[in-house]
């Protein structure tokens, strides 16, 4: 019944979650950062069974009647969530040290949320998926409101919570309709039964409601309106986590239900996701053009990126006989690369906002002249987000176009053209930040450097690793390509 080897990564992270919470009780106030170290150690240990699982011949380990599966897709995503956790913890240490504020509980919540993502990656039925998703979201609500004396942080948490609960309700209702029509909770069972009920309006409604539920999670337009306010108000490391970890969890859910559970009904979700993809790209990018606050800008940019990630879905759903694996692979590659570069962008934004004492883009003029290191990293991550070769972002966009243009028809060509134009629009606002930093003159009175001895080492480590990742993946994208390929075989049942 239980394959302890296969469950080991999740168990280790679960144990780490508890250990961090326990250790927090005994750590003196000035040593609370040790809780983060403990968390990082636990995540590292969790990588060991993942490595042995990846190396073992038994590539599909199915438990609990097929509800919980450890296959290559699950492993790739688990590694992704663990690495995201690494970076978020590294980013948070310096950020939290500055005001010494419930650090132990903070790390506990981050790790618990990550565990939810890992569970989702293994889930193969609706209940497990839903439980995993709630485990991702619950701690995230609390994290968003971490600065409890700050009205904006409160607003962020409240908005996020209400929308989160609403979307969970919609999702659950959709799931109940699907279960009612197919009589099955497992994705395979739904896939088998869906052929006979595909024409039923209630079943269609169920699918659409499930997609709307996940649409909120990935902040796709028109279910995005919570994101900019929440991102702006939440502590920046939490925002980084929301825009990467939480969004990736949403995509894991979307990938699983679309390509596995509803694989027999792509003509239902294809057109719906076509609309979400097009709207997210257009609205996200156009609104981002007008943003003055860097975090809001990144919020809209992350909405636009969600649109790019949805493009392969639309292609898979709209073309007869489309190779689902290719579309699946494209979205997985995009999510992985987006994770690296967006975490990097947030890490560098934390550093730059601290150095300049402001999150308004106009206060960053001439940053390149007095903080060249931060500015170079900012340039790397922002242009990577824009998709300029040889930085990693190009490959994400490349595989996205690859998926949408294969066996193209009128709809997919139109979507590809929308995506191409949007890629150019996006460049404008990323370049505007870079221009402010490098080309506009520095202010007469430079802002006082809050840490004259240099950037906090944990933060420097975080964006150093991410910058190397962005460049290496950009020049040799094969690694990501192989991960995505390994992950993609589950598409289509």
């Amino acid at each position: 019944m239980f394959d302890y080897h296969a469950l080991a990564p999740d168990f280790i992270v679960a144990a780490t979650v508890l250990a961090v919470l326990g250790a927090d009780l005994f750590l003196p106030k000035e040593r609370k950062w040790l809780a983060a170290v403990l968390g990082i150690l636990g995540l590292t240990v969790a990588l060991i069974p993942i490595a042995t699982l990846a190396a073992s011949d038994d590539s599909l380990r199915s438990m609990m009647g097929g509800s919980y599966v450890v296959d290559d897709f699950a492993l790739v995503l688990k590694v992704f969530f663990i690495l995201t956790g690494y970076v978020v913890l590294l980013m948070s240490v310096a950020y939290l040290e500055s005001d010494r504020y419930y650090q132990g509980e903070y790390y506990f919540l981050v790790l618990a949320s990550l565990l939810g993502g890992m569970v989702m990656a293994s889930s193969r039925d609706l209940i497990t998926l839903f439980v995993g998703l709630e485990l991702v979201s619950g701690p995230a609500f609390l994290l968003a409101g971490w600065k409890k004396a700050d009205a904006r942080s409160n607003e962020a948490a409240l908005k996020f919570f209400i929308i989160g609960v609403l979307s969970a309700a919609i999702l659950l209702y959709g799931m109940s309709l699907v279960y009612g029509m197919t009589g099955s909770l497992s994705f395979d069972g739904i896939g088998e039964a869906s052929a006979s009920v595909a024409e039923e309006p209630v079943f269609v409604l169920g699918i659409l409601l499930v997609l709307v539920g996940f649409g909120f999670k990935v902040s796709a337009v028109p279910f995005h309106f919570w994101a900019p306010d929440t991102y702006e108000g939440a502590p920046t490391p939490v925002t980084a986590y929301l825009s990467v970890g939480s969004k990736a969890a949403g995509f894991v859910g979307m990938l699983l239900v679309s390509y596995v559970a509803f694989a027999g009904a792509p003509d239902i979700w294809g057109p719906a996701l076509w609309i979400l993809a097009a709207l997210s790209m257009i609205v996200g990018n156009l609104v981002a053009l007008r943003q003055e606050n860097i975090v809001r800008l990144l919020a809209y940019s992350s909405i636009a990126h969600a649109g790019f990630m949805l493009v392969p879905f639309a292609a898979a759903g709209l073309v007869e006989g489309q190779d689902l694996n290719q579309a699946f692979e494209a979205t997985v590659s995009y999510v992985l690369i987006y994770g690296i570069m967006n975490l990097g962008a947030f890490a560098v934004v934390i550093a730059a906002a601290r150095r300049t004492g402001s999150g308004q883009i106009r206060d960053w003029t001439g940053l390149g002249s007095y903080a060249p290191g931060i500015s170079i990293l900012l340039t790397i991550f922002f242009f990577s987000l824009a998709g300029i070769p040889p930085l990693a972002g190009w490959y994400a966009k490349f595989v996205m176009f690859l998926a949408v243009l294969q066996n193209a028809n009128g709809w997919t060509i139109a979507l590809a053209a929308i995506a191409a134009v949007n890629a150019v629009v996006a460049l404008y606002y990323y370049a505007r930040v870079v221009q402010t930093v490098w080309m506009d003159p520095a202010p007469q009175r430079l802002p006082v450097d809050p840490d004259p001895s240099g950037i906090a080492p944990s933060l420097a480590l975080a964006f150093g690793l991410l910058a190397i990742g962005v460049i290496v993946v950009g020049v040799f994208p094969e690694a990501i390509g192989q991960f995505a390929k390994a992950a993609s075989f589950i598409a289509g049942g």
């Binding site: 070769p389 490959y395 191409a420």
Partner: protein
Amino acid sequence: MEWFDSGWGLSLVVFSPLVGALALLAVPKKDEETAKWLALLASGVSLFFAVVAAFRFDFGEAGALQFGTKLNWIPAIGSDYEIGIDGISLPLLVLSAAVVVLSIVYSWDHWPEPHNPRGFLILILFLATGMAGTFVAQDLVLFFIFFELVLLPMYFMIGIWGDKTKIKLPGFSREVETRLYASIKFFLFTLFGSAFMLLGFLALNFRGGSFSIPELAQMGADGQFTGTFAFLVFGALFLGFAVKVPMWPLHTWLPDAHTAAPTVGSVLLAAILLKLGSYGFIRIAIPILPQEAKSWAPAIAILAVIAIVYGSLACLAQTDMKRLIAFSSVGHMGFVMLGISTLTPVGITAAVIGMVAHGVITGMLFFLAGSMQHRYHTREMARLGGNLKLMPILGGMLGFTAMASLGLPGLAGFWGEFMALLGSYQPLDGLSLGVFRTAMVIGAIGTVLTAGYLLWMLQKVNLGEPKAEWDGHDFHDVDRFEMAAWVPLLISIVAIGVYPKIITGAANDAVQSLMDKAF
């Protein structure tokens, strides 16, 4: 030299500047001398191996890819590190390596504001890798990466070291500095084009199942790409390359970018970057989609002659010397595109030689314009005049280069224009003679207009008496760094002019074999 022929040689040409750029990052900012020598060394290594390639090049087999290799790069999408050069790439590769070295030599003592030589040199070296890489890439994805790699350095070069004069843009309430406007305009235009170019590449990959340019060209020659599909793909590639060339009416970024860029930026832009577009037509669009090239050819020819005439007329309306030279590029690239549009060996050879000639001549003109601006602190032709009296050597060089630019027989500029017109007299069978012969006549009138505006510029800038405002100014004539950078260009202008076989020797056979395969 086994290692050289098996891909290492070309890789060194392409990547030694990049290595140099990374090494420069480790040099302290204050240590300008080390930075300069290191940059010179890196670009020198690149040039050295480019020249070695030229000497080892088997001219008897100019149509075949040489010094090539094919290594696994991204198997997930079926793209390889496939490189190699034939007689068309060779002259352009050597040109690009040489112009980079000369730019660094010229910069030695002429740093635009805000100084920072190290940063400036890093950008030049990045550009060098992108440019050389584009000419050796034989894989569409690799080509795309190198093609895009030049964007960032040029964007920063214009945006940071560019012209700080404020301009008022229609529709905006605030004035904006020229450099900021020009840099983002350059970036957006090129990215717009290349986004569609990429879609075209992907479409080819779906039909052909490969990103390899030689393989796709073979399929194209076998007639595998036809119909609406091929028509649209050619359109997408056309958009990408035409923005870069730039062809009328997609040229509007060029005058702004050239005028705003620092001297070396203008030189590299004019001498090499524009060629990436026309090279793309010859290397990718025509061999892979020959039938579509045929249906698009008349349109290209018409746009090309419009560019020739428009460029010349626009030149006559300029008051700014640098802007005039920029518009002259539009006209000259029009001749290159006219040559390409004939789809004949003569026409395409004309394009290759025209590209190289335009590279040396216009590169030289931008050097001269930059040095004059450095001394006079203005580019307004109305305020210049009598330059020949104030600075005889510099003035003489300007006169000489302008003569080359207007296509004087015996100098480099002549062959490209002459052969392009020759080619359009007798375009490829099946193309409309009416269109191309009309194009030829209009193009010939264009040469007269070209002569007109260049002579007009010379008369304004070089001849006459110096203006009263320069009384008492002591202008130093050409200094040693300028001399070192310019003499090689002047020599090659003469050399190509009297002995065009330097270029055509390699290019002719390559173009011939390319055409034989395609049509």
